[in-house]
Symmetry: C2
Subunit: 234 residues, 2 copies
């Protein structure tokens, strides 16, 4: 019997990766233009590969979030253009970042109703990874904050993180279920600490988060709407 | 009688503003060089003023921390040079940021002994403001983490933040004391919720944090070393 359900935020409760993906598209267009001007070849998949490499290498400095993404875009733009990217393009990249940070929070289909329904029967937590300031702002703007018994914003979602949260809140892993879109962050470490997890894939996944789901204690749903029916069977 | 003592992190337990100040000095030198090349006038105090204006305007997007500081330096460099700052200088600014993020954590004089001594008589908390990823990294590297009963990393230190922390942890404000270097963040909001505060000034204060201390329930010490003697009188 599950008594505590935790939800991931980005791409589980609200759209997020689509915003990164859209910005990355704008980044490619900007660089294509810059590269075109000096006659050098331009390869969109090469840009994506270099940006992902920069983001991954910079995780140890910046952690997850939009500010680190912007700094990695600037770094990639300088590298790809051999230092010829004009300052006004770098300014544009910073404006992309501010647009992302100020972007309205758009809930996924079915989230508002499902969270409201489950809040009356279960203790709900929100466990989200990333930048403290940005995540707090999104939670406030989501309109969902009051449905959650507690909110945890963490810098990394590994088994130690989940173990710490469950211990501090006195939650038995056997009665805990995590719902999220990232197998790497929301599913594998949760199953590793003896709890259960529900994977609700988002139509986009950041390459860094890709992983194979575990064979046991994990269910996959097409929509968060199907969660109450699944819970009735557990 | 005080039973719970909370410490601020940056410039209370470990050096921080000196790192920003040193980086800002390097930023001025870099811009002086860039401005000199195209013959335009250069005024160091004007640079400082513009950087502070950018940081302040960007707080609503970036919150506090090194990544936002780097983005504000880049923005200021582009603005001050009228867009003529070369990409290699922007790369240098990002390297300044990575150096700051990887910089060793240096405890202030007397901190290690005082925290260790008080940990045996009081419940100690660490309440620090800023970037989650960077603050967690500094706490881990400080070697002090185990002395604290709890750690709170917050995006803003206002009365609501302190009220929430004290309520959640079941701490009576009348038995709570906060120790910090910032009147604006560590002293005024704490006194406002009915608790007491000890101001231990750092030799540098970011202009954004400057404020006048309150007349009551606040003490000023020259060093954290003097804290046990003060506690004995409360």
């Amino acid at each position: 019997m599950i008594d505590t359900i935790a939800f991931d935020g980005d791409d589980t409760l609200w759209h997020n990766e689509s915003l990164f993906s859209m910005t990355q598209e704008r980044f490619r267009t900007l660089l294509a233009h810059a590269a075109g001007q000096d006659g050098s070849a331009f390869d969109a998949s090469d840009i994506d590969r270099r940006l992902l490499a920069a983001e991954t290498a910079n995780l140890r400095f910046y952690g997850y979030g939009i500010k680190g993404f912007v700094l990695s875009m600037i770094e990639t733009a300088i590298e790809v253009t051999g230092g010829r990217v004009p300052a006004r393009d770098i300014q544009t990249l910073m404006e992309f970042g501010k647009s992302m940070l100020a972007h309205p929070v758009e809930l996924l289909d079915g989230v508002a109703e499902t969270v409201e329904a489950l809040a009356s029967s279960h203790r709900l937590l929100l466990i989200t990874k990333g930048d403290l300031f940005d995540q707090e702002s999104k939670i406030a703007r989501s309109g969902l904050a009051e449905r959650f018994h507690g909110v945890e914003i963490v810098s990394e979602k590994d088994p130690a993180t989940y173990r710490r949260i469950l211990e501090r809140r006195g939650v038995d892993p056997a009665r805990f279920l995590m719902v999220g879109n990232s197998v790497r962050s929301d599913i594998l470490p949760v199953v590793a600490v003896g709890a259960r997890a529900v994977h609700v894939p988002y139509h986009l996944t950041w390459a860094h988060e890709e992983a194979e789901p575990p064979a046991e204690n994990c269910w996959r749903l097409g929509s968060v709407r199907d969660l109450p029916a699944l819970l009735a069977t557990l």
